[in-house]
């Protein structure tokens, strides 16, 4: 395969009337990446996905997928994509297997080949026993798995997953993660959006955090955590005593409601000093997570 990035975006922009949904973002996804788009509602993630999928035209900037321009080669690009949509759009009038076969037809996959792949994919997503069941008899987790199987029917060069585990219970979520890990290990290139930061931390080797149409930061999860919040966090009750104590210590801390968070590389020492000198109620030390980075960068104000 030629040596070009799977996706290359430069100053990519999308405006709806006066609203700028995606505001001149640049990024590049390489082969084998699992690349995450994170951000609060309205950050521009889904709009970006739609531009990559060639179903929403960009307003300005440049965007190539698999070396082809999305505005001039939509059919060729879409033939190589596998898309797991945010909203279930399986065909309710067909069974699981029929859904896969009908979808294979849109990609011009010969019938015998489509049957073979449908069998393989149904067993990959553990739905062999449900293959002749109509869609409305499936659980939410099964539907997501079937959508994943459908996204793989054309053996795509790029998988686009828009909120792959949205609305699933923990079991369902872990099963999807397991499948995505397997796909990643097989060398697939995956782009995903998610609200679940644990998911991004587990799956992505690179990610961007978006807000208000712009990319705030880019990097690997571990890299972002150490860069923006340090390795560890100590949480204590928010009392005047604790605050003055921390100020004395010269610690980096932030106050969220009834809680104080101290960002530190020496959690034991901070916790110990808090206990010994400030009467902090309870103290809790933990590893910093992507969620801390996310909240630090995008704030705690609710978005709708």
């Amino acid at each position: 395969m030629a040596d070009y990035p799977v996706i290359e975006a430069e100053r990519l922009t999308k405006r709806f009337g006066t609203l700028t949904a995606v505001d001149g973002i640049s990024f590049s996804v390489s082969r084998g990446d699992v690349f995450g788009f994170l951000g609060p509602n309205g950050a521009g993630k889904t709009t970006t996905m739609k531009m990559i999928q060639c179903i929403s035209p960009r307003t300005a900037g440049a965007l190539t997928v698999l070396g082809m321009d999305t505005s001039t080669h939509p059919r060729e690009i879409k033939a190589e994509l596998g898309v797991l949509p945010q909203e279930t759009n399986l065909d309710p009038e067909f069974t699981c297997r029929e859904n896969l076969l009908a979808y294979a037809r849109y990609f011009d996959i010969p019938v015998s080949e489509a049957r073979k792949r449908a069998d393989e994919l149904l067993s990959f997503v553990q739905l062999q026993e449900k293959q002749d069941v109509p869609i409305d008899k499936l659980s939410g987790g099964m539907k997501r798995r079937l959508l994943l199987a459908r996204a793989l029917i054309n053996d795509p060069k790029l998988l686009i997953l828009d909120e792959p585990t949205i609305g699933l219970d923990p079991q369902g979520r872990h099963l999807i993660w397991e499948k995505l890990k397997a796909l990643q290990a097989a060398g697939n290139t995956i782009v995903l959006t998610t609200h679940y930061l644990e998911e991004a931390e587990r799956l992505c080797n690179r990610l961007v955090i978006m807000d208000r149409g712009k990319i705030l930061v880019e990097g690997s999860p571990a890299d972002l955590i150490s860069r923006y919040v340090g390795n560890d966090i100590v949480e204590a009750e928010h009392t005047p005593e604790v605050v003055s104590c921390l100020e004395e210590m010269g610690a980096r801390f932030e106050i969220y409601g009834d809680m104080v968070q101290v960002l530190t590389d020496q959690p034991r020492e901070v916790a110990k000093r808090l206990f010994e000198t400030c009467n902090p109620g309870h103290v809790f030390a933990r590893r910093a997570s992507l969620e801390d980075v996310f909240l630090k960068l995008t704030g705690r104000v609710l978005r709708d």
Binding site: R15, F16, Q53, I55, S56, P57, T59, A60, S71, P74, R75, E76, K78, A79, L81, V83, P85, E87, T88, N89, L90, D91, P92, E93, F94, E98, A102, Y103, R105, Y106, F107, D108, N154
Partner: protein, 269 residues
């Protein structure tokens, strides 16, 4: 080049860019139709029988003949025309809207190499096919009752596809601009129902005031269907036969282009 011009160049084009893939969309609808054929085939059998009995034979007893034709034979082609209109129109309004908006079938399709133009064209061809299926079934019933003449009536079958395509294209324009599924009741009641009654269906146009007659012949799509269908089932060519066929061809072309353009405008954002 400005952003807007860029966008227009990519998606604001006029003539639809359709590929062979439209047939895959058609095939999807065909597969679904025959999966539930038990419910799909009963109405076109029963409906004409009811109309024939109630209006053709019942009301016909009082009417007797129109222009020397038994009343039941006068309305038989009208029933066929109405069936072409209804099957295509309702398929490409309510059913297409459900696939587009509720089931997100269109979204699923355009995530594959299919374009919106392919999807819409496939839907239109399916609407036309549904017209062909329904009116062909109905034709069988009418032949059974001996109220249409043969073999010229068999031309109804190819004609129903073209007539259905025209109504499918008109319907798709409404689907493309409707704010919600309930608003589709407007074209159904204000466009389809009046046509059902005033297109030379159950009484001849000649009893209408002359200006109304002219308006009907100039503008109402169903009038053209009835003119053509009646010429075929009575084997008696109307002087307007060619006019109506050309009218149908022209209007189909216009509304085909318009419906795909409106749908691109609605779906590509």
């Amino acid at each position: 080049m400005t952003d807007r011009e860029d966008h227009d160049q990519e998606y604001g084009y006029i003539l639809p860019r359709v590929s062979r893939s439209a047939l895959k969309v058609w095939r999807r609808n065909w597969d679904v139709f025959f999966k539930t054929y038990q419910v799909n085939f009963l109405p076109p059998f029963i409906e004409p029988v009811l109309y024939l009995l109630a209006i053709g034979f019942g009301l016909g007893m009082f009417v007797g003949e129109i222009d020397g034709i038994p009343y039941v034979e006068f309305i038989a082609p009208a029933l066929l025309s109405i069936s072409m209109m209804n099957s295509a129109f309702f398929e490409c309004t309510y059913s297409s809207y459900v696939r587009m908006y509720y089931q997100k079938t269109f979204d699923a399709m355009i995530a594959t190499p299919l374009s919106i133009d392919d999807v819409i064209t496939g839907e239109l061809l399916w609407g036309a096919t549904r017209s062909l299926i329904y009116s062909s079934v109905m034709l069988l019933v009418l032949i059974g009752f001996g109220v249409v003449s043969l073999p010229s009536s068999l031309l109804i079958i190819p004609f129903s596809f073209i007539a259905g395509l025209m109504f499918a294209c008109i319907a798709m324009c409404f689907t493309a601009i409707t704010p919600g599924i309930d608003a589709l009741n407007y074209p159904s009641f204000l466009f389809i129902t009046p046509m059902f009654l005033f297109s030379g269906t159950f009484f001849p146009l000649s009893i209408l005031p002359e200006p109304v007659q002219l308006l009907t012949i100039a503008f109402l799509p169903l009038t053209q269907l009835v003119i053509v269908a009646r010429s075929l089932t009575l084997t008696d060519l109307s002087p307007l036969f060619t006019y109506s066929l050309v009218w149908i061809g022209v209007v189909t072309a216009i509304f085909f282009v318009l419906s795909t353009w409106l749908m691109r405008r609605r779906l590509i954002v």
